[in-house]
Amino acid sequence: MNSSNILHVLNLLTPEIVLCGLAFGVLLLDIIFFRSDSVEHRHEQLGCSVIIGLVMVFFIYALQYMDWQNTFVVGHGAFVASRLNTLFKMAVVGLALITVVIGFKTPYSTHVGEYYGLMLFSVLGMVFLISSEDLLMIFIALELISLTLYVLTAFQKGARRSVEGGLKYFIFGGFSAAFLLFGLSYIYGATGHTSLREIAGALQGDQLAKVPMKMLGIGILFTLVGLGFKIAAAPFHLWAPDAYEGAPTPVAAMIATGSKIASFVALTKLLLIGLPAAAGSALSWPTRWHSGWAGTVAIIAVLSMTIGNFAAIMQTNVKRLLAYSSVAHAGYILVAIVAIQASGVPAPSAAPAIYFYIIIYALTNIGAFGVVNAIGSKAGGDDFEHFTGMARRSPYLSLLMLIFMLSLAGIPPLAGFFGKFYLFAAAVQADPKNLGLLWLVAYAIAMSAVSLYYYLKLTKQMYVLPAKDPRRVTSNPAMNTSLGLIGLMVLLMGVFPNKVVERFENLNANPYPIWEAAVPPPPQPEIPVPAPAEKPAVPAPAAPAPKS
């Protein structure tokens, strides 16, 4: 690897490096300078520096987004820098920013530096996960996210629920990691590659005959189980309610939004880029099924929608309700994942629909968690009874909660409605002649009609029932502003979704103008100009031929 190449890679990785430095900086600052300060003071100092740092990272990403026209690949896909990925990274960093804002001066722990440090490490994991197209990197990044979130979930060591949630999350997560690793190793074993593009190459044309398909099938199955845990799809969702309920609310928000985005992007990429040839079909259940992951994903989707929605009906705790609703939403997204390759050819709008929906979903959910945090910390808990009569105690936050709940339920003109429409339209589009996936879409729509019931049940607590405690509930202006902005975005993205859709479709239409060329685009002033045809110090993209 020559020096200009390394410089270029470092240039690509600037925001990640800044993020990493920020994490170390926060940890060190806390130890060196603020050790003796009061917890409140440390929160202020470190929280502000984290916010400033994240804003900086966000802007670096924004610059990269505007600057780039090409896709750069480092290390055979261990790190892929494309505009689409950058968009997701901006979303993740933005969500982390909101998480920090809503958790500002959180009373959950005295280990302030570690709280922010771990949170930043988790964001780093998400960022790497989003940009990786390599099995090994996917696994390591997922573990980085998970490990930090286990710890953050159990961060409130004095509270029994927090520790219980953390332990459950940890055990389930460890279990799922084992499944995932097993599955990934089988995929590697069957195809001989870890890079998703190369795996796809190994599954094409006459190469396909050499691949032991049954072994690959086992690998995919186990990988789906492992990733199913991470995205909390039924029947692998059992950790979610306890972790959401037990975790400090900002952490729960992070689990529900940032890590969801990253995991879904990884899952989509794995199936869309790496394994499209093994998709099989789930059309017109069950007469036109043939083997592949589409059928399995369809079953997981149906289970998630059913279990998520019906279990959510019975909840009396807002965070548990959101946990089960997130299971249901994972199901809706999986519907579109089924559609990616349902009829042998890629459905053009399936991937953009998934991307659009996860962004919408994360945005809405972080808003909801923000409101839960604001109200919960003042009202003394986040059971339904603490939310009773909130419309009069805090009209502003209640209105926002109403918007978020209705968006999750899919009521126009909010973003959730168009997101669902887009997802389901993409799924039907997979086989427009025979409407092959309509069975799944019809089920999803029926289930989302069920979901309105529990979202309304929560808003009923806030709007219909009288308040037991007439005192007003207020939150700080920063929180109010950011939540208000999220609410506005949810509304605007619902009324004018065309711009966002356009963006995703463009980015997805031709995401890889350059493959495996870690060289910069035409000379840019700030980068030392390297030799244009320079390959990275790794072998050529052609599959490494077995020696013996």
Partner: protein, 164 residues
């Protein structure tokens, strides 16, 4: 020869792993775990992954497990009491296990695995591993260090006694 060694190590590893989770006494659990790691190292050797085998013995069996044993002996943990479990969980897990085993053996039976593309193309010597790890997989390698750091911080935070 190679086949019989493979079966020997596999059986040893599986039985040691089973004993690890069924033993009531923590100390013997740990000993069996060490044995399981040793057998795994044997399997690595059979696969020509010498570096991995050495690391397995040195790091896992050697360093980590000794530390484990040390802690357990210091803490002087009592033997675990028998816990009552519902029949449903047991039955379900046995069912899943049997189903998976059948599936895997089906695959093993039907696939000509020897010809699979992933048959090791390189020797697992230190040099080869180092070459791959520091060129192609450099980024994952670096991120793994962050992972370890995060895990360390987490452990310290969670295990530390809080000042009241």
């Amino acid at each position: 020869m190679e086949n019989s060694l493979f079966y020997f190590f596999s059986v040893a590893m599986l039985s040691c792993a089973l004993l690890t989770i069924t033993c009531k006494n923590p100390v013997s659990s740990v000993i069996f775990l060490v044995l399981a790691f040793f057998s795994m190292a044997g399997l690595f050797v059979l696969l020509n992954a010498f570096f991995l085998a050495a690391v397995q013995v040195l790091v896992y069996a050697g360093a980590i497990m000794v530390l484990f044993l040390f802690v357990i002996m210091l803490l002087n943990l009592p033997a675990e009491e028998k816990r009552h479990r519902g029949w449903f969980g047991g039955a379900a897990s046995i069912f899943v296990m049997v189903a998976l085993m059948l599936e895997l053996s089906f695959v093993a039976h039907h696939e000509k695995l020897a010809s699979s593309p992933a048959s090791p193309g390189i020797d697992g010597t230190t040099e080869d591993v180092g070459m791959v790890l520091f060129s192609r997989y450099m980024l994952p390698f670096e991120v793994a260090s962050l992972l370890l750091l995060a895990a360390m911080i987490g452990v310290i935070i969670l295990s530390r006694k809080e000042k009241k």
